[in-house]
Structure formats: C-alpha cells, structure tokens
C-alpha cells in the first residue's frame, strides 16, 4: 500500500477522528528502519488494548508492531485467545478466522498475495498463542513449515490457555499445577524451537520480551529471511501474570528470571549458514543507512 492511500481528503480532514489524523501524520509507515524506539515519539499502530494491566503480551504487541519492516504491506493472521482481543485495535490488516488454523490461513493468504502482487513484497505474519500454535494448530503449523511457506510465525508463549482461564497447554512446564492438570502437568514443555528448526524453518528465535532490542532484531530477521528463504519462527515468552499468580508489576521480573542461566527462555537463535550470511549483509546495509542519515543530519 502506498502511503498516499491513507491520506485524508482536505474537505473531510476536520471530521476524521484524531487517531486517524495521527496515523497519517505521525505513523512510521514506509520507514524500513522503524523500531521500538519510535514508541512514544510517533503514532503507534496499536491503540489502547483490552488486556490485563501489566500484561507482558501488551508490550510484546507494541514491540512487534513497532518493528515490522513494512507495516504498510503486512497482513497479520491471528487466532483465538487474548491476542484476538487486541487485533481489532491494530492499524494493520489482520485476519481472525478460527482457533488453530492460522498457519493454514496464512498459507493461502501469502500465495494469493504473491500471485496478485508479483512485483511487490507483501509480508504475512502469523501471531498466535501457544495453545493455537502447538496444541490445536500443531498440524497446520508444522505443515506450513514442511511446505516451506514464506511467512513468519510468532508464538506468544504464556505456557497455558490464558483466555479461557489458565488450563494446561503443551508449552506449559512439567509439574505446573493448573486447571485440567490437577496433579501437575505430566510431560515436558514441548521443544517447539527445536521442532521448528527440524521442520524446515530457516530462522528460529526463542526469547522473552524483557529486552526490546532483541525482540526488534529477531522480528526483523525473521521477516527479512521469510521473504527470501522460507518459513521463520519466533517464540516469545509473554507470561500470563494473572494465571501464574503474579502482580501487575511483576511481569518483567518473571521474564528476566526465565531468561537467566538455566531458565526455560535463555536466548536461543538458529539460522542456516546461508541465512547467517544474508543477515550479516542486511545488518551492514542497515548500518550504512544509519550512517548516511546521521551525516545528512550533520
């Protein structure tokens, strides 16, 4: 989409809602170097959300949306769960269809956009919870990777079914007592990052959202690699503070604990050799652009 398409006709400018006017004037559409640091200084693509106060998923949403390399040509595919409460507030087109079929939807969508816009880059990004990605939708998640569908899958992993009230999920840690796991979960947390790698993902990252720089980098890598190589996967720990008995202000600490040595979310990244080389080139290009911008300012 060209930025011209969202411009407001002068005669109607005064009746357009201020949020939309901000979106036209201050949003970062069209800037491939946009990132989490734009949060607070330019119009975000996410409006107020209806998640719980202090929910790490809400900040994850902000980082993800702020870091998309081309939001003006990105379509999200979501699934049922807490994320589906946020998507209606987001200024990027997004599809909710059913619970668990997100990677099937994205497969069809990406193929349609590819044949309809052969000369344009249209990014498709799946963003779904761990229940949708691993339990009910695992088949479609994996099959899209086997088929080498060129889009990014993001899993907001809160280690349980949050929206339905905290039931056991495949990504829950072993032994955790929850609804539907009354004596504690009996099997290990599914090793999704490794499964992704073995299933054909060209870039995989597993991290928490405690460090916005890392989230931004992983997301940009994943999307750029998906355009050129094939499927990519990011697993983000977004703990459900409500269902694990934490306070609103404790989300960040929970993530920091989980990513410290020996934790379940120690930063992990896999990339094929070709992808490593490609990402290095992209890094250098980004650095050159930054330098150019700096010298232009000076």
């Amino acid at each position: 989409m060209s930025k011209d398409k969202i411009k407001i006709c002068e005669d109607l400018a005064d009746i357009m809602p201020p949020e939309y006017q901000d979106l036209v004037e201050d949003a970062t559409y069209g800037d491939q170097d946009r990132g989490w640091k734009d949060v607070g200084s330019s119009k975000e693509l996410i409006e107020q959300h209806s998640l719980c106060a202090g929910c790490p998923e809400s900040i994850a949403f902000r980082y993800v949306l702020a870091s998309l390399p081309a939001p003006e040509d990105t379509v999200f595919v979501g699934s049922t769960g807490c994320t589906s409460l946020v998507f209606p507030h987001v200024a990027v087109q997004n599809i909710h269809s059913l619970f668990g079929n997100q990677n099937a939807i994205a497969s069809g969508l990406h193929r349609a956009l590819k044949v309809r816009f052969p000369d344009k880059v249209k990014d498709v990004v799946v963003l779904a919870g761990d229940g949708a990605t691993v339990d009910i939708g695992l088949d479609m998640t994996l099959q899209s990777w086997f088929r080498q569908e060129k889009f990014t899958t993001i899993c907001f992993d809160n280690e349980l079914y949050a929206n339905t009230g905290g039931q056991e999920s495949g990504l829950m840690q072993k032994g955790f007592v929850s609804k539907m796991a009354p004596v504690g979960k009996l099997f290990d947390k599914v090793r999704l990052a490794e499964i992704a790698r073995e299933s054909g993902c060209h870039y995989v990252a597993c991290l928490t959202v405690s460090k916005p720089n890392r989230v931004e980098k992983a997301l940009k890598n994943a999307i750029l690699v998906a355009r050129e190589f094939g499927p990519t996967f990011i697993q983000l720990y977004t703990p459900c503070i409500l269902e694990i008995g934490k306070q609103s202000m404790e989300g960040l600490d929970e993530m920091k604990d989980a990513e410290s040595i020996g934790g379940r979310f120690v930063y992990k990244e896999y990339a094929t050799d070709d992808v490593k080389k490609f990402l290095k080139e992209k890094d250098e290009e980004a650095k050159a652009r930054k330098k150019e911008k700096k010298s232009a300012k000076a």
Binding site: P88, V90, L98, A106, G108, M140
Partner: protein
C-alpha cells in the same frame, strides 16, 4: 435431460466487468456467463470429474487447494493438471480438509477466486470453516461430491452431509446431472461474487452417480472464460493492505456481554441470511429458476433434488404406462430454499413424494415445514449407504401409498 433455458432470448447480463472482451494469459476471452452458456458447442461424453475440470478450466479460478477423499479425488487431481498447464495461478495439496478450507479462506481473504472439492467425512471435518467462510463473506466455491459419513466406513453415495450444510450461511445448490454441475460451477461464481451476495457456495452432487459415470454435456468453448473476480467489489475489505487499515472497532465484541455486542452479532447473522436470499435474483437470471417443474397440475408429485430426481423421472415413465399420472418438481437451490416456487408448484397436489438418498429425509422435512396441509407429504422412499434407488421402488411405493 434438463430443460434448456433460453438465455439468448433473455439477454441477461450478469457481469458489468471492465475486462469483458479482453484476453487472459491463456488466450481465453473474458465473457459474460450467459454468453458462455449461449455459445455451448456439441455434446461431449465425459465423467463428472472431467466435467468439473472442464468447468474450472473456463471459470478463471486463481487458486485451488486439494486433498484426497473418494469420490472427489479424481476431480481434484485433474484440476492440478490444469494448474500444470497454466490455467490456475496456484494449486497445492493441503494436509486435511480442515486445513484445506482454511487455506482456501486465506486465499479468498487475499482476493483470489478460489475453488476446491470435498466429500463425506471431509465435509464434516471441514465443517467449522463453513460458517466462518460465510461470516467472513468469502465467495469460495466448494464442490461437494456427497458420500456416506457414518461408521462403519462407507465411500458410497449418500446425501446426508448436505443436511449439515443447510444452516452454515452458505449457498447450497444440488446438481442432478453432470450438465447441471458444469452450469452450476460457472453460474455459481457469478452469483456468489455479486457484491450483494458475496457468500461461499457448496455445489453438491451425488458422488459416483454423477462423478464416476459418463454423461453427455454441452460445454462452452475453451477459448472463453468467466470475467475475473474483483476483490474490491467485496462488501468487506480485502486483506491485501491496499486500503486504509483503520481500527476495526473500539472494543472487540467477542467477549462483551452487552446489548451492542449481541446486536452486532445478531445483525451480522441476519445480513448473511439476507445475502443468501438476495442471491435468488441472480440465480434465476442465469439458471432460469430455482426449481424446474413438469406437469405440476397433476394430483401426485415427486419433489426432490439431485439424482433422486432422475430416478423419479424414470418412475413417472413407469407409472405413466400403467395410467398413473405423476408430476415432478426438481429443486436446484437448497439455500436459498425456493419457498414461493414450491408453494405454487405443490398448490394442487394431493400426494407429494420426496425420494432421497439418505436416511434422515431432510428434504422431506424442509418441504413439510413449508407447505400447508403437510400430511400430503410422504417422506420417501429412502435409500442410504450407497444403495441405488431403482425407479421401480419409487413407483411401487407411490402405488402402495395411493392404494392403486
């Protein structure tokens, strides 16, 4: 076998598409569906599966997703050959019917004309997708080649699965013959893509009886093609990020327990229902009516859809030889249900027989719920599980019931 509809005389134009008269990359000329029907050539002798392929070949389908299940596998594979020849822009095998219908939805959300096929247990496995398609206003066409859905496993013809499709919000049509199927596939895209309809279509036919038998079919020339789908005529935004992505709503309605939320969901469902009804005028313009009738002034009528109609026709011939006169009503569209047409056609009938290829007798229920004095409706005969319905059985049942 079917009554020819005189479209040349009517000059009904369904497409106002700017591309009419231009050529696609396969050198086919974009043509209004009525003109395509009018240009039909000499009859070909083909299986139903081949007829599906030949209809798709001139239907301007962008994307098709396939999955093997008898009796639609052959048609789905033949569409793959069309892709290899360049007639489709994309085609692949999905991993299950549930996934396939999701993949079809994704492609339709992205603005493509989408076609797929399924059958029996596949239809039921895919079921969650169908109300989602309708609610999302995706004009996908699925050909359902009906077969048994019960356990123990059966791959044989049985139309029970259609009963499950009736309240999904989709258009549901029922082809009697391969010719019907050909016509319905082409007409189906034009009807379901109308901006005031814009709904998915389940184009049903009886598995094996239609798909695996050969029949004569008049086809449009292969250098013609339906005008392409224009996703920007959709009543909901196409998900291609080519229109301003304004926030859809202030509060997601999904979990709100308030009047506005209920009212939004209710009006959305009403709108889907209304869109089904609005498809009538387009369907009548192309197919000449939602039902076909023969001698409905008679006291005894056979009313049904699909190949039960063909068997009914034969039974009428048998009864005629014995001096028993029976009329016929063939129902082509099950959703929208032709209420007025059936009311009128059955107004003078004293006995209405509804033969069906399923044990449930859902068609008889639909008719009983509609017409006055419904004790006139005799639900049967029924066969199921792949049994054929000999015309003698229908004739015997009619004679027994009327005491002849």
């Amino acid at each position: 076998m079917n009554k020819e509809v005189d479209l040349k005389g009517k000059k009904v134009k369904l497409s106002q598409h700017v591309k009419i008269g231009q050529k696609n990359k396969m050198n086919q000329t974009y043509t209004d569906v009525s003109d395509m029907f009018a240009a039909k050539g000499a009859p070909s002798f083909l299986t139903g599966s081949e007829v599906i392929r030949d209809a798709v070949k001139v239907a301007g389908v962008d994307i098709s997703v396939a999955y093997p299940i008898t009796p639609q596998s052959e048609a789905a594979a033949l569409i793959g050959e069309l892709y290899a020849e360049g007639y489709l822009l994309d085609y692949f095998r999905g991993e299950s019917e549930f996934a396939v219908m999701g993949q079809c939805a994704g492609a339709a959300f992205g603005g493509a004309r989408v076609f797929t096929t399924t059958a029996g247990p596949g239809t039921l496995r895919a079921m969650e997708n169908f109300p989602m398609w309708a609610g999302s206003r995706l004009p996908i066409q699925v050909v359902v080649t009906c077969r048994g859905i019960n356990s123990p496993l059966s791959i044989q013809p049985d139309t029970l699965e259609m009963a499950y499709l009736l309240e999904t919000g989709m258009l549901v049509w029922h082809a009697e013959t391969a010719q019907d199927l050909y016509d319905f596939i082409l007409a189906g895209f034009m009807v379901s893509e109308q901006p005031d309809v814009h709904l998915p279509l389940a184009n049903c036919c009886d598995g094996f009886f239609v798909t695996h038998t050969k029949d004569t079919v008049n086809k449009a020339p292969e250098d013609l093609c339906l005008p392409p789908y224009d996703p920007y005529k959709s009543p909901v935004p196409c998900m291609d990020m080519e229109c301003p992505p304004v926030r859809m709503m202030r509060d997601p309605f999904v979990m709100k327990s308030n009047y506005i939320s209920y009212s939004t969901h209710a009006s959305w469902q009403q709108e889907v229902k209304a869109a089904v009804e609005r498809s009538r005028k387009h369907t009548i313009a192309i197919l000449g009516g939602l039902i076909e009738t023969e001698n409905v002034d008679r006291e005894i009528l056979i009313v049904s859809s699909g190949t039960a109609v063909s068997q009914g026709r034969e039974a009428i011939r048998l009864l005629e030889a014995e001096g028993i006169k029976v009329g016929l009503v063939k129902i082509k569209t099950i959703r929208p249900f032709p209420y007025q047409e059936i009311l009128e056609a059955t107004a003078n009938a004293k006995h209405i027989f509804v033969p069906e290829f399923n044990m449930a007798g859902w068609m008889a229920r639909e008719i009983k719920a509609l017409i006055p004095n419904n004790e006139r409706v005799y639900a049967g005969p029924h066969v199921a599980g792949g049994m054929t319905m000999p015309s003698e059985v229908i004739a015997e049942e009619i004679k027994k019931h009327i005491g002849a």
